[in-house]
Amino acid sequence: MIETGLIATLTAFLSATLRMAMPLTLAGLGETFSEKSGILNIGLEAIMLSGAFFSFIIAFMTQSVLLGVCAGIAGGIAVSSIHAYLSIHCKVNQTIAGLALNFFIMGLTSFLFLIVFGKTTTLPECPVSPKIPIPVLSHIPLIGPVLFNQDLFVYFTFVAIFFAWFFINRTEWGINLHAVGEKPKAADSAGLNVFRIRYLSTIANGFFGGLAGSYLTLGLLGFFMENITSGKGYIALVVVILGRRNPPGILLAALVVGAAEALQFRMQTSGIPVPSQLFTMFPYVITVVVLFLAVGKSREPSALGIPYIRSKR
């Protein structure tokens, strides 16, 4: 009996870990495309927040998860496009543009939320993505419930990891992306359109980041509140560094932080008599530690954060 209890606990923990890791993985995948092309988007937090908000509001109004997800993706792309325009066209400092977007979107989402729902004491709820157990596979002990009894977001993320890996490492497009982020002048001189490739990469960032935001509301929580991302966008940036801008690595890194988050929830409900803040700060501490351990392991694209100016003399 103890053993089954242990397995049940472990299953629940691993399953939670996986779910916590998914938004980080998705956002990390998006940011990887962006960073590989040379655009550092600190505004990932804003992308996720926008995705979370718009997916929630549309899902709430239409009661359709699918439409919600689409709105979330659109919200994410809208934010990443503003950042892209500022970074690629206006050639401004990318970090500052990202930060400004974070403030802007935080204000905007809170404002719009208040407009739509007013000051409510009960949080409005939206439908969440249902779990779809995969026949046969989901009955495998331990692995089954963890991997094959999840919602569509999780399955999609795994597919996305594979395709992102394939795209980056096995196609000519991946080489082009790499060239644009390493040495845009060389890419330009070889006839690649640096600006277009960078814009496309940032759209990918908006897509995945918006999806990650949707997962927060439509996959994990079923509601929205002010600043719901609470730093997940920044943590995703760390995941990108730790995962060395390689999709499988990003999943692994996200799982590490995801485990910390899952542990935090578990501890909070365990009834140990200490302030819950001790556990709440756990993922952030882990992130700092992980960032420290990743020192020197990851090489940044040479042109990361540097605007490309063509007729520079």
Binding site: I42, I82, Y85, L86, H89, C90, K91, V92, N93, T95, I96, A97, L99, A100, L101, F103, F104, I105, M106, G107, L108, S110, F111, L114, I115, F195, S230, G231, Y234, I235, L237, V238, I241, V274, P275, Q277, L278, T280, M281, Y284, V285, T287, V288, L291, F292, V295, G296, R310, S311
Partner: protein, 345 residues
């Protein structure tokens, strides 16, 4: 011609911001005129209202000065919020450890403790950046979340007031509390300290050799190194000063306003301070001006929320769009031959 264009572009930004405000106000169904009147009445309508602007500006200017030193040196300090928290924790802790001190010493000690605590909180990411090249942007943000949670733990445990059920500390000993400058308003010593800090930061950064080196490091690390400036040391120094000033901002909020440590005493002062530093172009006098301006915006927005029912989070949208517009000002509003060429590409 260039100057005219530049002035014109700023006017355009103001027009856009006004238009945006009108749209936002209309979207919540409030009356535009009433909103604007209540906005300005909130700021200029009474001595109290105006003093509230200065009260708001106090932490913004103080932390903004800190952030600007970091920015000038190339230490992108997003962690002012956490450093403010640490300053607040420090002054509270020291006050309960040494409660009987005479006022002058107590206040000086409180400020020093806040400076050190905030400074150390920034110095850790500063050192990690200087020594290992770890992104200070991410670390300072993480340190914000950690600091907020540390405060949460403290006001529920060792610093908790046993008399009250709420998570907050007891009242600070009298000696530590900042004197008021203008009874009955809430304006306190902190504002004076911010003004002094503004002058000191100016002298440090523009008149002294260490300040010169900090600026050089911020502009070109490689040239600094080749000229013999120990770059790492100066990055760490900059992080210490940067966080220290933000720490003092935290001291001011506790010793000048709340008189006890409690959760959520800072409604994002540290984040707004970043905007203040950006808008002030990292110049101390600019930071003061931007701090007053943003404080006025926030005070006005609050008044607008009370009287016209417009959510105060409108001020975040306005701040964000001002920064975004100013960032993109050059390419949005200049119509030189060069930028047209770029567009064609």
């Amino acid at each position: 011609m260039e100057r005219l264009k530049s002035a014109l572009s700023y006017i355009l930004i103001i027009v856009i911001i006004l238009a945006l405000s009108v749209v936002l106000i209309l979207s919540v169904g409030s009356d535009v005129q009433e909103s604007f009147v209540s906005f300005f009445r909130g700021i200029f309508g009474s001595l109290y209202g105006f003093s509230e602007v200065l009260v708001r500006a106090t932490p913004l200017v103080m932390a903004g000065l800190g952030v600007s030193i970091g920015f000038k040196t190339g230490f992108i300090n997003i962690g002012a919020e956490g450093q403010i928290y640490l300053g607040a924790i420090a002054v509270t802790t020291i006050a309960f450890l040494l409660p009987g001190l005479p006022s002058v010493f107590a206040i000086l000690l409180g400020i020093t403790a806040g400076f050190i605590a905030g400074g150390v909180w920034a110095l850790i990411p500063g050192y990690l950046k200087a020594r290992f090249g770890i992104s200070e942007v991410i670390n300072t943000i993480m340190f914000n979340y950690i600091a907020i949670n540390i405060l949460g733990i403290l006001v529920r445990s060792v610093l908790k007031d046993p008399e009250y059920p709420l998570p907050m500390s007891p009242q600070l000993p009298d000696g530590y509390i900042f004197p008021m400058l203008m009874y009955p308003t809430r304006l306190h010593l902190g504002f004076l300290i911010a003004v002094i800090a503004m002058v000191l930061v100016y002298v440090l950064m523009w008149k002294s050799a260490p300040g010169y080196k900090l600026r050089v490091v911020g502009l070109n690390q490689r040239a600094s190194l080749c000229s013999g400036i120990p770059v790492r040391k100066y990055i760490v120094l900059s992080s210490l000063l940067s966080g220290g000033l933000a720490g003092i901002a935290g001291v001011g909020e506790i010793a000048g306003i709340h008189n006890k440590l409690l959760e959520g005493f800072s409604p994002g002062f540290g984040y707004v301070a970043i905007i203040v530093a950006l808008l002030g172009k990292n110049n101390p006098f600019g930071v003061m001006a931007a701090g007053l301006g943003i404080a006025a915006l926030q005070v006005g927005s609050l008044s607008m929320q009370r009287q016209a029912g417009v959510p105060a989070s409108i001020s975040w949208i306005i701040m964000g769009s001002i920064v975004l517009l100013i960032l993109s000002r050059r390419s949005l509003f200049t119509f030189s031959a060069e930028s047209r060429k770029e567009k064609k590409v």
